[in-house]
């Protein structure tokens, strides 16, 4: 009896999709486990406060400079007009 190729193809589809989903399901499960473990035992070190306060300071300075520039421009404009 000649084998029906289409039936063979359907069998391939069953095995193939089954393997892909099985693999991804196991992967999803372990991704969850791994994320929890990592967050529990090795929490990511927060960026240290020293550098962040520095950046805030520099931000403030920038802002001040901008304000000064704006005021100077306004005064100049006022005098000229």
């Amino acid at each position: 009896m000649e084998t029906n190729l289409v039936f063979e193809g359907v069998k391939f589809m069953g095995i193939g999709m089954g393997a892909v989903f099985l693999f991804l399901a196991v992967l999803i499960f372990f991704m969850g486990v791994m994320s929890k473990t990592v967050h529990k035992f090795f929490p990511e070190v927060k960026p240290n406060l020293g550098s962040s306060s520095k950046s805030v300071q520099s931000n403030n300075q920038e802002q001040e400079q901008k304000v000064v520039a704006a005021i100077t421009a306004a005064i100049k404009h006022h005098r000229e007009s």
Binding site: L5, V6, G9, F23, V26, G32, S35, F42
Partner: protein, 443 residues
Amino acid sequence: MRFMIIKLLTFLMLLSATVYADDAAPVEAPQKASTHKEETYKTQPFSDMIGGFLTSTGINALVNPNPNEMNAHGEAMSDFHKGWGRVIMILITFLLFYLAIVKGFEPLLLLPIGFGGLLANIPVANMAGPDGFLGIIYHMGLANQLFPILIFMGVGAMTDFGPLLSNPKTAFLGGAAQFGIFGTLVGAVALAEYTPFFDFTLQQASAISIIGGADGPTSIFIATQLAPELLGAIAVASYSYMAMVPIIQPPIMKALTTDAERRIRMSTMRHVSRLEKLVFPIMVLVLAILVLPDSTPLIGAFMFGNFLKESGVVDRLSDTMQNALINIVTIFLGLAVGSKLASDQFLVADTLAILALGIVAFSAGTAAGVIMAKIMNLFPGSKVNPLIGSAGVSAVPMAARVSNKVGMEYDRTNMLLMHAMGPNVAGVIGSAVAAGVLISIFK
């Protein structure tokens, strides 16, 4: 004392004499050779020389095919494939140049493939044969599947698994899209079974169906292993359809979703720590080792590249993989695939079936991804926008961009790009697994 000097002189003379004798010997040999040459070279009349030159031209080779000419595998070719077939193939390569340069279809691959095809169809020179340079490149890295693996390494070094890690369940979308592969496999064997024109074996059908994975290197990897005779058509179909993702996918995505579904907003992504990203490639590889070792050549190379990138301590190596290495391999891969565009292998009815099945495979994969997203929305939990389902076909990052673009058509502030990258990279893993399954079946 004088006696000593005479002795020394005679010794020197003897020495020089022997040296001269040694010198003289090889001088004679070329003289002999040249006289020999003169014997074989016969003077011919000028008219004969012109005639001889004319018979060696390409025009003559195309118009009057040489009956003794063999194809790259040393098999006989039909006169059509030696003559007009080559002209047609050269015109097809011009079409590939047009698509690559003017339309911007995957120029990085279609240009080397097209030019390789142009060179492979030159009569007389036989560049695709085992001694031609295209043939040498083919045997160097494509016949043994080296090039696709190296490309995978580079792709791994360019991939960021962050979006997948922050929303792991979207990996199922990448799995569902692999239906494109297996659905097309059934379609191809059905064609072979119920139509008289095509006669695909299961190996050939599997090689064709992997186009549905929308992953060029995987397609080439499988095709060289299962059906090397179809490699040219499969690679061209795979890369051209990948380039056409923005045209093929949106109508399918719109047809399968409602307006409300397309406007679904997905929750913002959580931050993924560096350690998670570093552990992930090793974890996937360990799973592949345990579940499906046949997929480890592809997954192993992919994860190697990714691991180097995420380790953060070997930027030089990861940079080489992402740029220099992948560029060099792309040139060789393109030329080697192009060498399979010889007229006797490409101008066959099977090519048309491959092109048709390829687009079916892409569409089926897209549809399956979208439908899977809708199924996932039936379950409780955070909702998934079905538009990112289509990104489950690999085609990184084109498919994810298409999801984002279609989503923005309906809600300008709904950014789906990063959400779509999750299924997108899961699709790469999924198609590597599917490839491993096919390889394990035919072992």
